[in-house]
Amino acid sequence: MSTGGPTRAASRTSAGQAPAPRSAPSRAAGLVVALVVLVAIALLSIAVGARSIPLGTVVDALFHRDGSDSSYVVWSIRVPRTLIGIAVGASLGVAGALMQALTRNPLADPGLLGINAGAATAAALSVGVLGVTDLRAFVWFAFLGAAIAGFVLYVIAGRGGSSPVRLALAGTAVSAALTGLTQAMTLLDTQTLDQMRFWTVGSLERADGGTLVRVLPFLVAGVLLAFFLARPLNALALGDEAGKSLGAHLGRTRGLTLLAVTLLAGAATAAVGPLVFVGLAVPHMVRAITGPDQRWVLPYCALLAPALLLLADVLGRVIAKEEIDVGVVTALLGAPLFIALVRRTKAARS
């Protein structure tokens, strides 16, 4: 179980029943390690780029904001990019964990299930059709798109979660249709093709400090709401009936979880475009460390998912002469993992 097997099996055991529960101190220590990992990768993300800056200079420039070239590159380009990577990564990681808990589906991921595509399509429509240019305005369209996609998916899935296959298929189909729509718009309006390409694949390249400031309130709200939901989600993991008898409100918990996913995925997509697989991989790795208790899974995801995203972003900058967008790298890294999960998931054996 601790090897990150199917959530369905893993989440059936609640925190209290988990075999050999890890002690709180060791899990807290692990959280500190995760934080250190994130900080280290964030420093790497600030140091590595088209213009390589020695780590010492980076640290120096971080503390002394003078007019030097290094300081300028660090503060105006690298730091905002890294911060937005952290914010978006944390959001998608938490959103993925929430969706996997809610649907009891190990393959759930806001990108794979079309939530991000819904946000991207609505945002692109608002830019392309309504001429909205301010992120503060189109982030609301992104929420709307994410909410609609989430709702459609939820309706399709039916009550009480659905089989992994069905949900993954429905999500793929929804995002295929939405991606087609976004593509059509880029074709009709070739002048905005370059801006729109942002909505086709996720990229941190364009994000700046302003982007971060505008989406941060929503992301923070989403993460806080998620942490508030940890306990009821633990109860629901036992099954609908058992959860109810433990005092969990099924409808309220599901509704609020969808709200949190919408906030997180919608704002993240508005900031950097749709990213796939970030929310899929990390919760699996985390559950292998923490066990199924959401009160630990969610904070670990909030630290390790951004570490993974930043790592993917750095890889994309280093591998090729031309920078590879982070959305491409996460797809290339995440898809093999997805296939490995599919091969292990019982439900896909029918």
């Binding site: 393959l107 794979l112 459609v152 309706v155 399709i156 039916g158 089989s163 992994p164 296959v165 069905r166 993954a168 298929l169 429905a170 793929t172 189909a173 929804v174 295929a176 249709a177 939405l178 087609g180 729509l181 593509q183 059509a184 880029t186 074709l187 009709l188 093709l193 390409r197 086709t200 694949v201 796939v276 697989f277 090729a320 031309e322 590879i324 967008d325 959305g327 491409v328 790298v329 797809a331 290339l332 995440g334 898809a335 093999p336 997805f338 296939i339 599919v342 091969r343 439900a347 896909a348 054996r349 029918s350």
Partner: protein
């Protein structure tokens, strides 16, 4: 229940003879609709030709203007639409039946992304002509199909795992396609982007003949597989009991089904959702069990013809690629399908 049923099941299943009769009538009906719509498509445009004159022109009695408008300008496009649609419909029927899942069609599980990658590589790296692009698309589609099949293999291949692995592979291919597009010369990108959405613009007789030759080879191969497909649909054990070599048949069907999809993709780019919707719609009409390859072919041809007609006219001066219209139609249909099978 881990997958959606592929056909209206036993409750509505007709006796074999009645079903055959009904399938035949549906094919005839679809053919009549295609003829009618084809005449309409051939007659409308900047040069308007009355339906009767279209027929007269087709029979070789046209004037110079109608000859030009109908035969030179519009006929190849209409015929390519029909051929591409038929190929996509048949490919979809094969895969939906193989995976026992209406969403297991090549456009969902990534074979046309693979074909796209192959075509793109040829366009962007070698700047190849139409034939080379077709070859690249065919190779890309086949390599993808083999990869999906091998990765889905676990003491045999199950439908739902095939579909899910396909989803993972499509994600990789989409990422590669995107990377190729972003880092290419702008002139190549323009050509590739139009092709990428699925378009019949600028296609003529030169593109028509290779397509038809490929189909003439492929259709008998597909129909030869149809009987085994129907048996596989009853379940692996039942099929094996009836003397079908299950895995070998599956590989054969996978190859011919992929070839059909790749040929269509090579000619017109990946036209979304036709291979998903055509077999499903045809099935609703025929109400027959089994793959229903021929009705799916007729339905696919009609769908692409209608979608291309609409895409040429809906956006005023600019001609939308047909893929945009099929994506919109297919998306709506898909939503309804999923809602109903909830």
């Amino acid at each position: 229940m881990t997958h959606l049923p592929t056909a209206p099941r036993a409750a509505t299943r007709l006796t074999a003879r009645a079903a055959n009769r009904r399938s035949f009538l549906v094919c005839v009906g679809l053919a009549v609709a295609i003829l009618g719509f084809g005449v309409l498509a051939l007659g409308t445009g900047s040069i308007s030709v009355a339906p009767l004159d279209v027929v007269r022109t087709l029979l070789g009695n046209g004037s110079r203007i109608t000859n030009f408008a109908v035969l030179d300008l519009r006929l190849p496009r209409v015929l390519i639409a029909l051929a591409v649609g038929a190929a996509l419909g048949m490919s979809g029927a094969v895969f939906q039946s193989l995976s026992r899942n209406p969403l297991g069609s090549p456009d969902i599980i990534g074979f046309n992304y693979g074909a796209t990658t192959g075509g793109l590589l040829v366009i962007l790296l070698f700047g190849g002509g139409t034939l080379a692009v077709s070859g690249g698309a065919l190779a890309g589609g086949l390599v993808t199909a083999i990869a999906v099949y091998v990765l889905a293999w676990q003491r045999g291949v199950r439908g739902s795992r095939l579909v899910l692995v396909g989803i993972g592979i499509s994600a990789i291919l989409q990422a590669i396609n995107f990377y190729l597009i972003v880092n290419a010369q702008i002139a190549d990108v323009a050509r590739a982007t139009v092709w990428l959405t699925g378009s019949l613009n600028n296609l003529g007789w030169t593109q028509f003949w290779p397509l038809v030759i490929a189909l003439v080879v492929l259709i008998p191969l597909l129909l030869a597989g149809a009987r085994r497909l129907d048996m596989l649909e009853m379940g692996d054990d039942a099929a094996a009991a009836l003397g079908v070599r299950v895995e070998r048949s599956r590989v054969y069907l996978l190859i011919v089904g992929t070839a059909a999809c790749a040929i269509a993709t090579a000619a017109a780019g990946p036209i979304a959702f036709v291979s998903l919707t055509a077999p499903q719609l045809a099935k609703r009409l025929t109400r027959a069990a089994g793959a229903g390859i021929l009705p799916a072919a007729w339905m696919g041809a009609l769908l692409v013809l209608v979608a291309d007609f609409a895409a040429q006219r809906v956006a005023g001066a600019s001609t939308l690629p047909v893929g945009v219209a099929t994506a919109a139609l297919g998306g709506a249909y898909l939503g309804w399908l999923l809602w109903r099978r909830r």
